[in-house]
């Protein structure tokens, strides 16, 4: 079973295109997706996943299960950065520890999308509200990390600080806003809207995802060099923390009675690390933090680890536990 999962995952076109992107850089090909195409592809993915999630909620209706899941998601997103921060503080400055903690407390939409494509390939159902869980998990870690930074750092003293800006950046940054907005529109327009948008949001989705992962592969491979600076400690952290988060998430999901599909997505959310919303917020709120640590960690280690090894691993554990 597990081997089948691994193979089924590895032969999935999106994963293969991620590898192709890495290979392009390693073989010094000049292949690249020119800006601003990656940005528009990522807006498309957020738009589509948000809308589909909203339609899912409209179809299933609001249930207590949803409320429980969303609450659990918020809790995990606030707790993870806390304990990550204290682990990181052993080796790093306050600014860097806070920024990396935010990175791992927040989530990666593309990991979530890849995971849901994985579930769809295996015909395992999941709830549309998991998208809401994802959107909800993007911001708390940013707030927590900035709080930690301001409480613990001397550098930050005396510097004027705009809470409103932080708030806006945490909850109204482009990606959170688009996913929440699309989700809401999905809820409002329901199945009628879904029918009109299906060719755009569903049919061509996998293809666009392949293209985006091709670019992710290119960018991740380019960042590999930065990892030398990160050293052994951070490299290990970038693999072990996701696994640890998953180890907390799976029993929690089980205790809360989530379905297998929902539990899997909840786990991947906890295990994933942000490389879009968090860097955007950090350069604003913790400019002292070094982006050439937290960006390559999440992009060049945690992301590939999760989509290649993590996904089949977490799902195998869940399959055992639930059956």
């Amino acid at each position: 079973m597990d081997t089948i999962l691994i193979f089924s995952n590895l032969l999935n076109p999106p994963i293969l295109f991620f590898f192709l992107g890495i290979l392009a850089v390693l073989s010094k090909s000049d292949l690249e997706i020119p800006s601003p195409i990656p940005k528009i592809l990522s807006l498309y993915l957020l738009f589509a996943i948000g809308f589909k999630g909203g339609v899912g909620i409209a179809v299933s209706g609001f249930q207590t299960q949803i409320v429980i899941t969303l609450a659990a998601a918020s809790v995990m997103a606030s707790v993870v950065p806390l304990y990550a921060f204290f682990i990181l503080r052993r080796k790093l400055s306050v600014a860097d520890a806070a920024a990396i903690a935010a990175t791992y407390g927040s989530v990666s939409a593309v990991t979530f999308i890849t995971a849901s494509a994985f579930l769809e390939k295996l015909s395992i159902p999941y709830g549309g509200y998991m998208v809401a869980a994802m959107a909800l998990m993007e911001s708390p870690a940013i707030i927590v990390a900035v709080l930690l930074y301001r409480l613990r750092s001397n550098e930050s003293r005396g510097v004027s600080f705009a809470w409103s800006e932080l708030w806006r950046d945490a909850f109204f940054n482009g990606s959170v806003f688009l996913i929440m907005g699309s989700l809401l529109i999905g809820v409002l327009s329901g199945e009628a809207g879904a029918k009109a948008l299906k060719p755009f949001t569903s049919d061509i989705f996998t293809g666009v995802l392949c293209f985006f992962l091709l670019d992710m592969g290119i960018v991740a491979a380019k960042r590999l060099g930065d990892l030398k600076r990160a050293g052994v400690f951070l490299t290990a952290f970038a693999i072990l923390l996701p696994v640890m988060n998953a180890a907390f998430a799976i029993p929690l999901a089980y205790a809360l009675g989530l379905s297998q599909g929902d539990a899997f997505l909840f786990t991947i959310l906890c295990a994933s690390a942000s490389y879009i919303a968090v860097p955007a917020a950090m350069r604003l709120s913790i400019p002292e933090a070094n982006p050439s640590l937290y960006v390559p960690m999440s992009l060049a280690i945690t992301f590939p680890f999760n989509i290649i090894a993590g996904m089949p691993l977490y799902l195998a554990v869940i399959n055992r536990l639930w059956s």
Binding site: I276, P279, R283, L284, P287
Partner: protein
């Protein structure tokens, strides 16, 4: 043609609105912005090749009378201090049309 000072500021894209507000306050007659500048400096490589263009600079230029330079330069300084960036001042002749 009248002599003016050309001020060039290279700064994180995100800080551009703030810089432009300062220029407006300093009473410059106009400015020009080129987005999507990449670069390298004290704070490392900013090649904007991140998936979201988060780490890109912009290039801001304004031509102004030499009297305004110190006002502009001093108001921009704290932004450069906090977020990095470069500010260059040079001489030019402005064609009055």
């Amino acid at each position: 043609m009248i002599p003016v000072k050309k001020i060039e500021i290279i700064v994180d894209e995100l800080e551009v609105p703030k810089v432009l507000k300062l220029l407006d306050k300093a009473g410059v007659s106009g400015y020009t912005v080129i987005k999507d500048a990449t670069g390298k400096g004290e704070r490392g490589l900013r090649d904007g090749d991140e998936l979201t263009g988060v780490f890109a600079n912009s290039y801001v230029m304004t031509a102004c009378p030499s009297e305004s330079v110190s006002l502009i330069v001093e108001s921009v300084r704290p932004i450069l201090k906090k977020h990095g960036g470069v500010c260059l001042v040079s001489e030019a002749q402005w064609l009055i049309h």
